[in-house]
């Protein structure tokens, strides 16, 4: 199944999507915030394509709900849903300037260091990292501007990449190693210089549940394995051990790890290991799943990431998506930037790719029909059951948009 693609013309450095808002970091030093719910929800399109549009760009979780598994086992229902996504993939979708102005929530000076290396939104806060260190600002929808102008410094040292989870900003600092910085602890900046969690070189990092995987193109990648336990005061992580990519895969190569999948690319293939840290038998926590055939030379890999829909590997002149079902998808061209949103609940099917003159948002929707427990490519989605006693998708007293409010018909 081909991805749906939506193009946003303009000159951008980076993008983020979170809680119904799209944040565009402009090359001219601004941050433009769009009401993403309104942009997609108000899109004029044939009614029969609304489900695909909304699931594709606003609510990836609609079709991941546990109840839909039974529907999708019906071949006719599956074929009907698939046909909607396949047809929408042939429709050119573009958010032009006129439409952007209609849904614009704000356009403000970017007060973070620019150009930044990486950014994440976590707990309604925007974290931006790079040569300036790590900076944080609120984007909680309670500030006058979409991104607060009050910038807090979280870390002084330069970093290459960040990843947030468990109240922590994991930070890859190259030869200085990997640091774990408290995301919100106000006393942190007054304490002494932080020590790295690992002195192994890394230029990227991702969370694998409560553990952290460090990616290195100059050395071996590594997994910092943590255990977690619930206490009255909250969840606590405890360091267990560090495993190199040689320990995990038995060979060297470009490796990365996100949630339940650890990957290593060598010439000709991508080895995949399933990571189950909760398994009581420690020998069963790592399980070799197999090897995907790579379409390009792995010695030319620039970066890689994982999402439920598959693995995204950046080579020198292209991105390749190795999907959880179907053939690899080649996206030609050297991007200015790209990102996926594996921690997201609503945008986990999206791949954002920034080029010199536009942002392209790819939405991959084949994964709804894939058996999550056994798939080799892509991180597993643990399907929630709908709570039928509650109004559909009500959360914390705030009424979430319902399926019907998007005028979605299953015809």
């Amino acid at each position: 199944m081909q991805p749906i693609k939506l193009t946003i013309p303009g000159r951008y450095w980076d993008s983020q999507v979170y809680a119904g808002r799209l944040y565009l970091f402009g090359m001219d030093g601004d941050i433009r915030t769009l009401d993403w719910d309104a942009a997609i929800g108000g899109w004029e399109i044939e009614p029969r394509l609304k489900l695909a549009l909304v699931s594709g760009f606003l609510r990836s979780d609609f079709l991941y709900k546990g109840e839909f598994v039974a529907f999708f086992r019906d071949g006719e229902v599956k074929e009907l849903i698939e046909s909607k996504f396949e047809y929408l993939a042939t429709v050119p979708l573009s958010l032009d300037e006129a439409r952007m102005r209609k849904v614009q929530l704000g356009r403000q000076d970017n007060l973070f260091g620019f150009p930044h290396a990486d950014c994440e939104i976590y707990g309604r806060n925007m974290f931006v990292a790079g040569p300036m260190g790590i900076e944080r600002a609120t984007c909680s929808k309670r500030t006058k501007l979409p991104v607060s102008t009050k910038i807090w410094k979280r870390f002084d040292a330069s970093v290459f990449a960040i990843a947030t989870s468990y109240g922590t900003v994991a930070s890859a600092a190259g030869s200085e190693g990997l640091f774990e910085i408290p995301a919100f602890d106000s006393a942190y900046m007054d304490s002494s210089d932080p020590k790295p969690s690992s002195r192994l070189p890394c230029e990227d990092c991702h969370w694998a549940f409560q553990s952290i995987y460090g990616t290195s193109s100059v050395g071996d990648g590594f997994l910092l394995s943590y255990t977690r336990a619930n206490y009255e005061e909250g969840i606590k992580r405890a360091f267990e051990k560090a495993l190199s990519s040689i320990d995990l895969f038995g060979q060297t190569g470009f490796s990365w790890g996100v949630q339940d999948k650890l990957c290593l690319a060598t010439n000709g293939g991508i080895e995949v290991v399933k990571y189950s840290p909760w398994n009581k038998i420690s020998d069963h926590r790592l399980e070799r799943l197999g090897t995907l055939k790579a379409v390009k030379n792995s010695t030319k890999i620039v970066a890689a990431g994982s999402a439920p829909f598959g693995y995204v590997v950046e080579y020198e002149d292209a991105l390749v998506v190795y999907p959880s079902a179907g053939w690899p998808v080649l996206i030609s061209g050297e991007p200015v930037n790209w990102r996926v949103f594996p921690r997201s609940r609503h945008y986990e099917n999206q791949l954002h790719v920034v080029y010199d003159d536009r942002l392209e948002i790819f939405s991959f929707n084949h994964d709804y029909f894939v058996e999550q427990a056994t798939k080799v490519s892509g991180i597993a989605v643990y399907r929630e059951r709908m709570d039928l006693t509650e109004p559909f998708m009500r959360s914390k007293g705030r009424r979430m948009s319902q399926l019907s409010s998007f005028d979605i018909e299953l015809a």
Binding site: W13, M27, G113, F114, P115, H116, A117, D118, G130, P131, M132, A157, S158, V159, F160, A161, A172, A173, G174, S175, E176, P201, E203, D204, S217, V218, K300, I301, V302, A303, E316, E334, P335, V336, N337, D356
Partner: protein, 153 residues
């Protein structure tokens, strides 16, 4: 704070990389460190000549591509960058030169810089923005530099 060097006269003396200094001026000089040209297995190696290295340094000065303790240059000056050295692994071409000053001697020396190595030693935002604005490097290349990622010209 280290005083940024400047060049009044960019004559290169024979057999050395010394940038001529005005006698009365306390300007530091650019000196040649042999371990970046003698195949030292733990150091990056220049692939450009010493004359070209001086030109890179002079251009970096003229453009103001200096932070508080280091400067960064591209080769050849004012043109689309080319490789100027190789990394420690000898497999990766390098295109950024880094210049640092010796606290003891106040002399500067340079070396081909592997941007994947250290986030701390990479070009600061001001230099990256200058390269972006001048279009010497594309935004895609700048991203790879600031992310410490593999980057080919």
């Amino acid at each position: 704070m280290i005083t940024q060097p400047s060049i009044r006269n960019n004559t290169v003396l024979s057999n050395t990389l010394r940038v001529s200094r005005i006698v009365s001026s306390p300007l530091p000089a650019l000196v040649n460190h042999p371990h970046h040209r003698n195949g030292n297995p733990k150091k990056s190696q220049w692939s450009i000549t010493t004359v070209e290295e001086v030109a890179v340094f002079a251009n970096a000065l003229a453009e103001g591509w200096f932070g508080t303790t280091a400067g960064w240059g591209l080769h050849p000056p004012g043109s689309t960058p080319l490789y100027l050295g190789v990394a420690v692994d000898r497999a990766i071409g390098l295109f950024i030169a880094r210049f640092v000053v010796s606290a003891r001697h106040a002399d500067w020396h340079g070396y081909p810089f592997d941007h994947r190595d250290s986030a701390r030693e990479g070009p600061p935002a001001a230099v990256l923005n200058a390269w972006l604005a001048s279009r010497l490097l594309t935004a895609a290349k700048i991203r790879k530099i600031v992310r410490g990622q593999r980057c080919s010209l």
